[in-house]
Symmetry: C2
Subunit: 402 residues, 2 copies
């Protein structure tokens, strides 16, 4: 398919490139060299009043690049990334964190900040996040706050990070009090999506990416939605051309949404489709539940609730169920009590002024946000719990019969 | 003098008010109620595409306000601040940190973030920083990153914080590896400068504020500089009208500079006059040296270096020395080795591409930034060290003679 190039367009003529394709990683250093040169030049253009200061800024191209990666991804791709950076003239360093969500906290962030200071990283230098969602969110946060913000490039290596965490500029770490509660809005300077990295992706990780693709396609509607329905088989077979096309469509959609609403003031809320309920499930599972399954379950829940709380078409419920099944996303096996779920929903950071708000997809491409009567939410939570209990009983009976 | 009102104008029609005067604190809650209402409305204006979402945002006014203060300032002003917030309909909370620079770190920031989560603070709520520079920088940082940024108002209680930390949007915490190395650019929503708070200001703190006033007046030049020279006596007597006028002029100057360069890409560098050398002195003292004395010393050093490295007039050296003395700012008593100072200068985060850059005031109101030949810097550091050694010897001889 060759390498495809997308652009995220932001306010005031800013923006950044995303390159998608096999082998994009090898060109990382060279492309970053261009990006940091032009980024170094732009403050000068914005500050004509201080000619001396401006001239100095132009001379200052990034010279050090610190790759932040984790203990799973580092052994696979760190050498290639460092080689590409060194060839392009960067002085390359790397910092490796333990793999997993457990690293996405302020203790690890503090270690990374101190390490950057120890390496003598300055304002003109660069961080490169190499890994899945945890690394992208954490490296982005650390870079966005070190010296009040240095440049950060991202090399997502999971399908989920490729279509979600790597673009949009939402950086984050977790608190004991909740996920993603500390973070910034800060766009990367470049995103390299090398689909060859998916060759080493564990099976469970594919499911996480597929759920995000399903969400994007449902919110986007039109061509993307129909394409996904028709290409679910190719995706499940990990057909490289199909996977790349799915990523490009999801990124095109997300780039458009982010461009219209960088700071999540309005339209960007559509990206949270399925996520309100998913976050509650994940929290109750102690974050052992896979994000993809939780989001798919959240979409199912929203669709059903929306037939009464919004104008979701009954047909959408079935179509969406069909798409989720055809992508091989397993249902959530565990059941949680309706009361627990209700309390957890209220703890979400998207709860505004005590209102429970949900994103609803009424039909593919048509979405709305609505505050829902808490009593109605409770009723649908009871339906959900009953359905899970019944499914668990049925599965147990089937297992016993074998 | 009554209450004076300034406005910091930022890009895209944004900005915030500063009120300066005796008793401003009593009106804090009422003013914040207005500010949070209009802030709630502005994302809606920016997002016409999502009518439903926008309507929700308007309805969401800040309801909780968390005052962050320290163990010195809290006992003096917390009750008044909480009362003002409660009267205006906010649900008021407070978090108190130990007073002093030692609290400006990531461990304390983490405690504050967790406390906000525990209090159930949401995106529409508010942080109020009540205290000196440490509290303003830390509260600003915590608010700017909690849920990717919630509103923060500042109530500076030291003269230095009133003219410096409270406006400009530079938030920060310290690392083991250096001061202010982690932070964000994030403007407050409102700043209340109540000069009655200065009644409890320790003597050493006045010196810190005066050094910042001297710096601002020298960079600004014109009326402000002449006014400061003529009113040094009134300032030293803590004449309330003179102090208020000094604050208003310094804030007017800084607001203009910040408006022209919110992210410190160019013109804002002028605010670092005297600070490159000051930071090196402070670091070598283990941060026991007062910031004001260090900045005054840095201005003296820059003026002398600038007669050779830039086009600083010899007259400026003497005029500036006179102003510093007339404001009662004591010279730095300690001496540090030229070699140590040189190494410390290189560790500053403003060193770009290995260049040592200084801000020079050539005459009041005329400033420039220049990269200076390291050998020339070394020579002037040796001059500085020799002068300090001689002054110390002279002082010791005088003391022995008494």
């Amino acid at each position: 398919m060759g390498i495809q190039r997308l652009k995220v367009v932001l306010a005031e003529g800013k923006g950044y490139d995303i390159r998608v394709g096999a082998g994009v990683l090898a060109g990382l250093g060279g492309h970053l060299r261009e990006v940091t040169r032009s980024a170094g030049a732009s403050p000068a253009a914005a500050a004509p009043a201080a000619a001396e200061a401006a001239t100095e800024v132009v001379a200052e191209a990034a010279t050090k690049a610190v790759v932040i990666t984790d203990s799973n991804v580092g052994p696979l791709y760190l050498d290639a990334v460092r080689a590409s950076l060194s060839e392009a003239g960067f002085e390359a360093f790397d910092l490796t964190i333990p793999a997993g969500e457990g690293s996405k906290n302020l203790a690890v962030a503090t270690e990374l900040w101190e390490a950057l200071a120890l390496l003598g990283i300055g304002r003109g230098d660069l961080v490169v996040g190499l890994g899945g969602g945890v690394v992208c969110d954490l490296a982005g946060f650390v870079a966005s706050t070190y010296m009040r913000g240095i440049a950060c490039a991202l090399v997502p290596t999971s399908l989920l990070a490729m279509v979600d965490a790597s673009i949009g500029g939402k950086t984050a770490v977790n608190l004991a009090g909740g996920k993603n509660l500390v973070g910034t809005f800060r766009q990367p300077v470049y995103v390299a999506v090398d689909i060859e990295a998916l060759a080493t992706l564990p099976a469970a990780e594919w499911e996480n990416g597929f759920a995000e693709l399903a969400k994007s396609a449902l919110v986007d509607g039109g061509g993307f939605y129909r394409w996904l329905v028709e290409n679910a088989v190719g995706l499940c077979a990990h057909d490289e051309a199909v996977v790349q096309q799915a990523i490009v469509q999801a990124l095109t959609f997300k780039a458009r949404v982010v461009a219209s609403d960088e700071l999540e003031a309005g339209p960007r809320e559509c990206l949270n489709y399925g996520h309100t309920f998913a976050h509650a499930l994940e929290a109750l599972s102690g974050y052992t539940l896979s994000h993809g399954r939780a989001v798919a379950e959240g979409m199912r829940f929203a669709a059903r609730l929306g037939t009464e709380a919004a104008t979701v078409m009954g047909e959408l419920v079935n179509e969406q169920d069909g798409l989720i099944v055809s992508l091989g996303i397993e249902p959530v096996r565990e059941s949680y009590g309706a009361d627990e779920l209700f309390q957890q929903l209220y703890a979400d950071k998207k709860v505004r002024g005590g209102e429970l708000r949900f994103v609803f997809v009424c039909e593919p491409g048509e979405w709305e946000v609505a505050a829902v009567d808490p009593d109605l939410v409770k009723i649908y939570l009871i339906y959900w719990e009953q359905a899970k209990v019944a499914a668990t009983a049925a599965a147990a009976a089937a297992a016993a019969a074998e």
